[in-house]
Structures are given as structure tokens and as C-alpha cells.
Subunit: 157 residues, 6 copies
């Protein structure tokens, strides 16, 4: 039932060699919840203080390309697009991170999108931890997945 | 105010060359929330179906060692211990992940512990996603940090 | 005569751009020879003592994906399957490791299968070296190769 | 009894934070066994045909530096010396590989020396596989280890 | 106007999923300028003193395969050929480095060729820096690019 | 005479185990020469168009941490500071890149500073190549080096 293990319960990188190459896209999200004062350090006068979102975006993009190196049973895939949005949300308060990844490959890019979000969130934590240590990374989940045999998945709102 | 940026707002890897080498430890946690039926796939007859926690634990340990490669402004540190616990929690339902990391170095290992937790959670998601796509990775936070000038930090319960 | 060097004796990554993309598979094997008492540490009551084979299998799978990073003149290939079997053999005594790798690519995956076997064997050595330092890694060889212009290769028994 | 697993049988990177930093050295060896005609491709007129040993030596040196990335439970160590000898042995026939690694660290460098030997052997196989597919990598073992609490180890001849 | 940034000025890895896979090649060059006496260390009696060009060539080949890991917004590409020439030029005096890279992919390999040249030049500097610290790496540029929608580019002589 | 090769002309990672750990710093520079119109794309209304220098700075910082992975005979070092300045120079016209790296280690950080500059320059090229393909990366050199037995080095102006 768990496809990443064979009949004897041994982990393997599952055979996708018979699957067709198709266009695939995945979108994932997550958030870093912090104090309002910490969020203000990010949003106030960004040019002078440093571009927290810019650094985190780069980290997420680079991490997406290393997903198969980090997640043991993930297939290496030729990614064709990676985009990351990072937006302040005063209602949390905190930062919301969304990643979109595309490939033309034999398996999906959910893990690449989720890895991009996770590493972007970790990078935000790293840059703000001198100001606040009890931030929380929350709500990392798949929003949407398209392409491949299983077709479209869209998360409940 | 944000130490990862200089006076002109430029990102840099901050100078720790004047800081003493001290014993440091950090503990972080996170959880993967899933349906009860998905959790049962992990906990029922683990030997036959495959050791989800074992694979995730390895992934987290290996990721901790690559933290400075993933988080742009992190210092490379000679890690001296990495341990990861992954426990089922029927009340979530889901799996709870805790990582403990030690070093003798000039800066702390919070990011290594948080990275280990994040990648272990992503690996759990990867192994179970064929059964359930709407799992959520939640509550990634620092539990405890010891050593260095800032001394002991313990998260509120 | 050595294809990895040009007419002046200079190493290069040989041009495969004119070769067709075909289904390819390679199987390789190796063994770690140890004392019977060391092998017993692996096979007796595996659940309580720790899953040596499980850790080594993961290490081999992850190493296969990094072959082109390790072997200087290897082409990067989109691997579509990696499976590793690790079985105790009391007659050695020791552990036998077999790796199977597949791709759809322009060149074969022998090196990926051999790298997976080698790193799985090294990982076994690492986990058991506190018990025995004079274990030997032996008999790493290609068992079978299929696909591509050179067709089927099968090792003598 | 297996130090890489805790009391519950869970893999961890064992705590070395209490161990002193000492000078450590390890020497490992291995061999690639091939047909006499294949060995002649390596030894005859090396300058014109290409320097197989030179490429393999580099690959082994670079792999030693990545040991903690490849072997899941290995500690990262600041290597201070890596040297690799590759010598033809007509009696095999084949090539003998020896690696010497040093560090000043809290744990030994056996795995670094064994990894250097393994990757050098794999690289030799890669460069010669167009000439002979049934070469065998054999006899990878620790020759000598010095430094640290367990003191001197020397392999039987 | 800068394709690596979106309409809001945010960096992204640009979408190439709609572009066809075509044969692509890029050639880049660079040089390390040094004193005549330093160049003599490289060219005199190369076999006895060590093969500076051989080591630099390998470093460049391996770096080309890691371009997408180093350059944040580069797409991962399945490289099908990497060749590097390193020639002494007494008129500089110094060493000239040329790299040729091919792929069948959706975007060009200029960055792979330029990265190969840069890392080969850095490696030359590293091996000769004990003899001369004020060498200069100069003239790294694209010589030629072929394939893809933008067609042929050739540098002015 | 070339320290990176032994008496037989074989490349090795030279033994630094007997050298003391001292504070070391290196500063390197380089430049990307381009058309005035290309430079204007970087300097005009940076916030709206995208932060070319910010992306290149991050790439250089991350590359410095991977120097020992890229340059075959470089020792791994625990970097304690990495800072990169990127400034427009209308007189070139182009961008000037300067990198400063510190460590407490047994060997110098020249290669880390030079690698940071090189990868930052390559990243600038990557982001601007859609506008101009014949930019040139020039003048990569060591400006200053301090610490260790060889003492202070300062480049001629």
C-alpha cells in the first residue's frame, strides 16, 4: 500500500520508467508566524534594513533544485519553472510563502514545491531569530497539483 | 537590527570569528498531521509494510549536516551529535518529530535542528502522499537552545 | 582506445548527444565479509538493535543519485528506478548487496548501480566497525546491463 | 552494542562532543582486478592515451571530502591531508589503490580513507569499462588507524 | 526587461516548459595571467612536477555539472558533452582555458561553459599560488552559442 | 616546487595537520564589464526591476561555503565571515565585486574569496545575458591576505 516500499517492506525509489513524460505543476504554501514587532522589522523600510523576502526566495528556489538530494526516495526531475511569493500578513502576524514548480517529467513535483516552501520558511526564521526565537513555521501543505495519471488535486480552502 | 544585513541593508554571513568555541545544543520539533487511516499505515505491522520513521530519521540526520548548504547565511559547523525521534500521536492524528543537535562551535545549532525536523517531515509526507495528499506539516519550532552568549532558551509549553 | 580521453590524452566527458534515448538497466553486486559474530549483530533481533540493512539501503539509493557528482566523467542521468537488496550470507559470513538502476537516457547506468553498491557496503562497514575493524568489501562487479547500442551484458556466474 | 543505534534501535549520529580533539590518521586500500590487456591500456604510453590514475586520484580526494554527505551517520571532519597512490600490479593483474587521510578531530577518519579508495576504484572502472565490463573491485579494507582512544590498529598482512 | 525577475521585481527561475528540446552548444574561454617563471613551472617537465592542466580540466568538467547548484536561477540540464582545453601562451604569459558544453534541452548551456572555465581558472590559481599570489584571472567570456530560438552567437574576435 | 604535487608529480591535498590554527582573512575582487545600457538595467529603478546585486551577493556567499567541493585540492575550512560588495562603476562600465572571507583555520581563505567573486560575477552574467551576450568577466585577483606563516600580502594598486 505504501508505494515507496516493496513487498518485503524495503524502501526503494519506485519504478517510473513506464510512465509517460507529461507537463506537471505543483503549488505549495506555508507560513512563518511571529510577533507583530518582528514582522515590522521585515516590512518597515525594507530597502535600508535588508530584503528578508529576497534572500528567502532565493534559498527556496535553490532548495527546490536539490529536492532529490534531500528526500531519499524522490526522483531527480528536470525542473522548468520555480517561482516563490512571500507576502506579509498582518492578521497572522507573519509571512506567507507560496511556491510554484513545473516540470516535464515522469512523476510529479509536489515534493519540490513543498521543499521550496520549507527552506524559504527556515531561511526567514534564520534571519529573524536574533529578534524572536519563538516563531513557528506552520501550515506547510500542497495547494494544487496538475498533470500525470492522478490528474488535478486542489486543496480544500 | 537584523544581524544578517549590514548597515547598507546587504546580506552577509555575519562575523563570528571573535566568538569563543563553546558547547552548544538545540532541540526543535514539528508534526505531520494526517487522517487516522493514514497514520495506521505507518503504525500497523511496521515490519511488513516498511519503516516510514526509519527513512525519515535518516533523511533528517543527513539534512542537518547540509544546513549551511541550504540556508544562505548559516555558518558551517562541525556537528558532534544528531538524534531524531519520530512518534505517532493518535490525538493529532499524525507523527511528531523531535531533533537534537550538538556542536562545539562559535555559533548555535538552532537552524540545524529545525532543518532536520523540516526534512524529516517532508520525507514522511513523501512516503505517505500516495495515500493522502492533504496532510499538513505544522508547528515547526525551537524547543530549547543552550550554550553561547545568549544562554538558555526554552519554549513556552 | 580509452573513450574518456581525446586524441591528445586529455580527459573529457564524452559526447553522447547523437545517441538515442533508450530504456536502460544495470544490476551490480558486492559483499561485506565479516566474522560470524559480527554478522550475528546484524541478524539477531534486528528490531531491537537497529536496522543496519535499512540504513545501508537508503545510503545506496541516495548515492546512486549523486553518481555524476562523484565520478568525474559520468553523465548526469534522470534515474527512474533504484532498488537495493541486502541479504545475510552465513557462508561468507557477511552481507551481500545487489543494486538495480533504470533510466531512460543516452548512456548506461552501470556506474550508478556500482556506486549504489559501494556506498551501501561502506555504510555497513561504518555501522559495524566498532565491533570489527578488519571487515573487507569484496567482489563489487557488474552483473547485468541492458539497453543501448552495446546490448545485453551478463556476467559469468 | 551497535553504537550507531540508540537503546530503541533508532539510528543516530553518535555524540562525540565529550571526546578530545586529537591527531588521527587512517590508511585504506583496495584493488581493481582486470585482464592483462586492459591493464596495458593504463600503463602503456600513459602520456598519449590519458592518465587514468591521475583522474582516479582526483576523484578519490574529492570524495574523501564528501564522506559525511554520503555515509549517513558519519561526522563531518576538517580533513588536513588526503593522499592517494595508484599502482599497477601485473600479478593481479590490475591497479592497487591506497589512501591516507588525516584530521585533527573528535572521531577517526577510517570512513574517509575507505570512501576515497572506493570512489577511486569506481572511477578506474568507469574509464576502462568500454574495454572490459567484467572487472572486479576487491579487497577494500582498513590497513591502519592511529589516534583517538582506541589507539593503533594495524591490519594483518 | 530582465527575464530573471517577474513584474514585481522578484527573482524566479523562468518558465521554459513551453520551449522545445533542441541540440545546444556553448563555447567559453578565459585565461590566467602569470609571470613567465610561474608558467615555466607548469610547462617544464610536466610529468615529473605534476599535471596542473590535468587537475584543472577535471575541476572544470565537474563544476559544469554543478552549474544549476551554484547559479541560483539556472535550470538543471542533462549535459551530453563537456570538453576543456588548457594551453600555455607565452605571450600572456599564462594559460588559456576553453570549455565546450552540449545538451539536448530547453535552454542554453552558456552558464555551464562559463562555470567550467571559471572553476578551471580558479583551480590553476590554487595550484600555483604558492609560487605567485598576484596572478589575475581575465577575459572570461562566451565565444559561441548555438541552438535554441535565439540561434547562433559568435563573439567578435 | 608545486606544493599540490608530491615528489612523483602526483596531486594530493597537502598535509596541514602540523600548522597552528590562526585567524585568517582574504579579500578578492573582480568585475563584469558590459555596455552602458546594460549597466543601466541594473542601476535604474532597482526596486521595480529586480535586485541583480542582491542575487549575485547571495550566490557568492553560498559558493564560498562550497569551495572545497569545487577546487579539488582545497582544504575544508570553518568559515566565520563572508561579505560581498557589488558596486556599479560607470567608468568600466560595469559592476565591481569584492569579497571578504575569514576563518580560524590551518590554511588560508584566498580560494574561498576568489570563488565567491567568480560565482557572483557568473551570476551577474546569467541575469543580464538576455540583454547582452558579450559581457566579459575580468580582473579576478587577490587583493589582500592576512594571517598564517606567510603573513600579510597586499596586491599592488
Amino acid at each position: 500500500m505504501l508505494t515507496h516500499f516493496d513487498g518485503k517492506g524495503q524502501a526503494h525509489m519506485v519504478d517510473v520508467s513506464g510512465k509517460p513524460v507529461t507537463a506537471r505543476e505543483a503549488v505549495a504554501e506555508g507560513r512563518v508566524v511571529m510577533a507583530a514587532g518582528t514582522l515590522a522589522l521585515v516590512t518597515d523600510d525594507r530597502a535600508a534594513k535588508g530584503d528578508v523576502a529576497g534572500v528567502a526566495r532565493l534559498a527556496g528556489i535553490m532548495a527546490a533544485k536539490r529536492t532529490a538530494d534531500l528526500i531519499p526516495l524522490c526522483h531527480p526531475l528536470p525542473l522548468t519553472r520555480i517561482a516563490i511569493d512571500i507576502d506579509p500578513d498582518p492578521a497572522l502576524p507573519g509571512l506567507r510563502v507560496t511556491a510554484t514548480v513545473r516540470t516535464g517529467g515522469q512523476t510529479g513535483v509536489e515534493m519540490e514545491a513543498l521543499t521550496a516552501v520549507s527552506v524559504a520558511c527556515l531561511t526567514i526564521y534564520d534571519m529573524l531569530k536574533a529578534a524572536q526565537k519563538d516563531m513557528v513555521i506552520d501550515g506547510i501543505r500542497l495547494l494544487r497539483k496538475e498533470g500525470g495519471k492522478s490528474g488535478l488535486f486542489e486543496a480544500a480552502p
